[in-house]
């Protein structure tokens, strides 16, 4: 079910170039029109079709969410995995680093990075990736710590396998299922983070369409145009919920028969 919604979202994203023209067309005569048969979601403050704009924003949100989550997961698993595998002083030092990152309100760091770096999709991805990896790292550390105690990892070491070989051939494949689960959660998170940034005006720069950006316009027109808030928010909510649902489903599948 969740996979179907996510699939549908990517399908919408694939079709979005068909709507690009409509999303750009400014018709001031038709500004702030309520939903009608001509404009099913209504129009925005410049008379642009809201449905087309919500559709056009889909691939951007999905892509940024996916790449940012991958960056966050990459850093997180590198730091957490290293800490968990080597233990001792390495673990102590890297665990402090994870703790440091967890102490900051994520949005504080996101805003600072986004505001101080030149505005671009790359900045948004880097800001999300650099600020949200600590949770993944903590998770990866615990997971690797658990796996390396298991018999097959110890057997591999006893047989004289090298550290990189144990890591890549034995630990990584077994850490993969939880990795995929946190990736799915991470995408939902990253999409939400991007929307929050765009909502606060430090996300994607102007010509790019973003759900958070449309909602930011909606906030200033709250007593005139409810549809501006309703539809892009609904798209965002469904996307985040679909990825979270997918993650929960994957977790249920991967932990089956593995309970303690």
């Amino acid at each position: 079910m969740a996979a179907a919604i996510v699939g549908l979202l990517w399908l919408v994203a694939a079709c979005s170039p068909l709507f690009a023209e409509r999303a750009r067309t400014i018709q001031l005569a038709e500004r702030l029109q309520a939903p009608s048969s001509a404009h099913p979601f209504g129009t925005d403050d410049l008379g642009r079709d809201l449905l087309a704009r919500v559709v056009t924003a889909t691939p951007i949100s999905l892509a940024i969410g996916l790449v940012a989550a991958a960056v966050s997961l990459g850093i997180g698993f590198a730091v957490g995995g290293t800490a968990g595998y080597f233990g001792g002083a390495v673990d102590l030092a890297l665990s402090r680093l994870i703790e440091v990152m967890l102490c900051f309100p994520v949005l504080f760091l996101l805003l600072a990075l986004a505001a101080f770096l030149p505005p671009s999709p790359l900045t948004v991805i880097a800001a999300i990736g650099l600020t949200t990896w600590a949770g993944d790292a903590r998770y990866a550390r615990a997971e690797i710590l658990r796996i390396r105690q298991l018999d097959y990892a110890r057997a591999a070491r006893a047989m004289g396998a090298s550290t990189p070989r144990i890591l890549v051939r034995h630990l990584l494949p077994n850490a993969l299922p939880p990795l995929i689960v946190s990736a799915a959660f991470g995408v939902g998170w990253a999409i939400l983070a991007e929307a929050s940034m765009s909502f606060l005006g430090v996300g994607l720069p102007a010509p790019a369409v973003s759900w958070g950006g449309i909602l930011s316009t909606a906030a200033s027109l709250i007593d005139e145009a409810w549809w501006l808030a309703l539809f892009p928010g609904l798209a965002l909510f469904l996307t985040v919920a679909a990825y979270n649902l997918l993650a929960e489903g994957l977790r249920a599948v991967t932990t089956e028969g593995r309970s303690a």
């Binding site: 949005l107 600072a112 101080f116 409810w226």
Partner: protein, 324 residues
Amino acid sequence: MIRYVARRLLLAVPTLFGIAVIVFLLLHLAPGTPGAGGADSVRRVSGKAAEEMRRLYGLDRPLPEQFAKWIGRVARLDLGESFVDHRPVGERIREALPNTLALNGLALLFALAFAIPLGVVAGGHPEGAFDRASGAALFALYSLPTFWAALLLQTLFCVQLRWLPLFGTASDAAPAGLAGLGDRLAHLALPVTCLTYGTLAFVARLVRSGVAEARSSDYVLAARARGASRNGALWRHAFPNALLPVITLAGLLLPALLSGSVIVERIFAWPGLGRLYFDSILARDYPVILALSLLSAVATLAATLAADIAVAAVDPRVRDGAAG
């Protein structure tokens, strides 16, 4: 116990140092400073502000010297002056703090008051009708973006029904004293709701899974065998054990609430710390940005420490084990 506390405090020292380093790095990302590259002209700070920053942070000195100088000032609780109105940063933070505390304190209170009974009842009958229904509702709340929820609530209660004010902390013509209390509460209702539901969903899910797990444990079965009622066993035996992970994570609720405050205080024009931080970002008011980042991280560290020590105080497994 003393050993555990000492070890925990000792480990906090490098963390504190790490926090200071991150905040210091933040300063060096700022346009107009040596670390900033490729910033466009709009984002470049004015000559006067750049000069002020060079003087304040000694940006022409070598990095370790700058860091030592900055740490020295922070250690003496000298947070500097705001670039915007040249008042001490501490004063601006003290003005905004009560507003944020009121908002977040109420949000935390409501979140716990609803989340705990919800979690215990749902966890008491896993996969029961209540568990399924509340699970679906909590999942939806968990995925609901704060700013969208805020906009929908504003549309419904402020624009359509006209029951509640759109934003601010009080009406302009609000009477003082007790009569003004209702007006204050009306202004608090929506922002507190928006800050509450995320924490509520998070804590309730945590309590629920803890209780569901503890429910089938030996000590709950033993309690039932001794004749404890179903509810008695649930609340007296399963719930305290489920509470431990909640306490452990309580310290980390603080940064999450502050992140939420940035968005909620912006939408509801609430003059608290989140709003101050956001305005300072837009105005490139570096002393305020650095002070707020540093203070919030240090407060979180302190809260996490307190939570860890509290858990160790009630759970001997934690203080005897080498859990670090």
